[in-house]
């Protein structure tokens, strides 16, 4: 029984770490700008498609799992970071001073635009990542099945999250981000370039989302232009579970959601999984309205 539970735990953490990576993009933007960036899921989806194109139509994949993967992930993350800055410039920056509703509508517009663009570029049929046999290698450790790709997803996401956490907590840039999140006006008075911080957030978030996108593509192999929506719903839930605006909260929330889904599907009934998950979410929000690691959401009076 214990082995089974451990294996289910690995399953849950694998899904959960992807949710965490995507949730980080939501929560960082919300923390700094109080904006729910609905376009974030589409960046994840575009990252997945871009990785697919690089793998299929260039010879980077022939470098092998190690270097090939690293180069592809870096290229995709870079491209999505650029796109992130562009979106911020075009869709959000002009609305910086115009209340909270306008940027949300603008975000929805960007989301629809990107989704349709992906459909026109890559078509409305399902696409599949090529089989990369090396990634399908699997082990059985003490009765627990784990594939290389699961290990990569877990390892890469946990390391990226630790890196991000250290940067936010230990560096001056991190301190500036935290200051901007607490109060933009005061941060500006302290000499922090708030616009630069916002641009930086729009580099990190999409880059992390893109890494998640490539890993999801490699693991599940199946791509569709609507996939961003499914994942952003889950990631958004994870961000709220952890406490939206709170960076460690998004990490914990994603893992927690993954484990809850695993418990629901693995021990109760897969058909009732979402009911189980959302009942717990509602209960959690009643008991702790600010989420698991709830931050004192700075009320603007």
């Amino acid at each position: 029984m214990l082995e089974l539970f451990l294996e289910q735990l690995v399953n849950g953490l694998t899904v959960g770490s992807v949710y965490s990576l995507v949730a980080l993009g939501y929560t960082m933007v919300y923390g700094v700008m109080r904006l729910i960036n609905f376009a974030h899921g589409e960046l994840f989806m575009l990252g997945s498609y871009l990785g697919f194109t690089l793998l299929v139509s260039t010879s980077i994949g022939e470098l092998g799992v190690g270097w090939g993967l690293i180069i592809i992930v870096l290229m995709v993350a870079g491209a999505m970071a650029l796109l992130g800055i562009l979106i911020e410039r075009v869709a959000y920056a002009p609305l910086r001073k115009s209340g909270r509703l306008a940027p949300v509508v603008s975000a929805l517009g960007v989301s629809i635009f990107l989704q349709n663009a992906a459909m026109l570029i890559w078509g409305s049929r399902y696409r599949a990542y090529p089989v990369w046999a090396a990634l399908d290698r699997r082990w059985e450790i003490g009765g627990v099945h784990i594939t290389l790709m699961q290990a990569i997803i877990l390892g890469v996401s946990i390391n990226l999250m630790l890196l991000l956490y250290c940067m936010i907590q230990r560096t001056t840039l991190g301190a500036a981000i935290r200051a901007t999140a607490i109060d933009q006006e005061t941060a500006r008075l302290m000499g922090i370039d708030v616009n630069a911080i916002i641009r930086f957030i729009f580099i990190i978030g999409p880059a992390l989302g893109a890494v998640a996108g490539v890993m999801v593509g490699l693991y599940y192999r199946q791509l569709h232009f609507t996939m961003g929506w499914t994942y952003s719903l889950k990631a958004f839930t994870a961000a709220i579970m952890g406490g939206i605006g709170n960076i460690p909260g998004a990490m914990v929330g994603g893992m927690f959601l993954g484990i809850l889904e695993m418990l629901g599907a693995g021990y109760i009934s897969a058909a009732w999984k979402d009911v189980f998950v959302f009942v717990i979410l509602i209960a959690l929000l009643i008991l702790r309205p600010t989420g698991l690691l709830g931050e004192r959401v700075a009320e603007k009076v």
Binding site: L4, E7, Q8, N11, G12, T14, V15, R125, Y126, A128, V131, D136, R138, E140, H145, T147, V216, Y220, R221, Q222, H224, T226, M227, T230, E261, M262, G264, A265, G266, Y267, S269, A270, A271, K273, D274
Partner: protein, 376 residues
Amino acid sequence: MRKDSIVVLVLLLGLLTSIGTAAPKPIRIGLQGPITGAWAYEGEMAVNSVQIVADQINGAGGVLGRPIEIVIGDDQGSPRQGALVAQRMVSDGVVAVISSYGSSVTEPSAAIYEESELLNIAYGATAERLTERGLKFFFRTCFRDDRQGQFFASLVDDVLKVKRVAIIHDNTTFAKGLAEAAKRFLEKSPTAELVFYDAITPGEKDFSPILTRMRTTAPEVMYFTGYYPEAGLILFQARNLGIDALFVGGNAAINDEFVNIAGLDVAQGSIVTQEPLPTDLPYPEAKDFLAEYIKRHGEAPSTPWPVYAADALKVIAAAIEATGSTDSRVLADYLREGLKDLPGITGPISFDASGDRAGAIYRAYVIDDQGQLVPY
């Protein structure tokens, strides 16, 4: 030959042909289908198929000495459009209608035909509930979804001869109906046992938790009744979790995309339960029909459905011939009581009291090493 004798001959011929066309009034039969829209391909093949049968019947002297004329109505695969087409068919005064391809389109159309007491025979509408409303004028030449469940149960017992079976559906009306039917029939099986039954959420990608739980029940066969995007993922993830149960898919689960997503190595050997493809029908009627179809259109119909439309016309023609009437009430009674094992393209045709086709003809196909479906 002398000139005046040619003139006489021409006049005579002209007289003969004018008598030939003027005397017997054609019997007009409607064909409602998705001629345009997302399923236009299906509609086109249905028209081609029905036309072949109409020409064959007319070539052999027609029905009651009268030729058949097909009246086409385009429902675009939309329920709303279907209702409009049905009303037009009724006011057009056709004798009977072949209608239609999808269950959701057929439902409102069948209600209008019922009100107008007009015989209508569906060729692609497989949802169980259509024949559960006690419609008197509705029949179908295709089989109900639950028959496929029954076929799966017999496949497990008689062909695969395995004991431990897992069933997964995806909570959509069609997949759930098929899964419930398969479950119902498996529970009657003397040898096989249903060890796992659950549903996934369509659109998701990770099914490891449910599959890991399924693994503890050690199934020998897993039957997935949902659609191909999830089918490919489920199979691939099951193999990664060390599940080597035989994968069987319902008739929406397996196609080229399934092979693409799961990968050929993994997909190979998987089985699908579905209606026989027209090219695999063993009956002499089917061979004649197929030869004619290929002669006219260059290739065989690529899905099972068009030949059910062709069979619907055969049924209507046989009923009119046998009863000597074109009254839908007489025809419907005959189809229920009188018609027995009419040799159709898709096999012998009889109807039960609810208007469903009796018997069930399903086939198991297996994916070969080229990714093609071949009879199992």
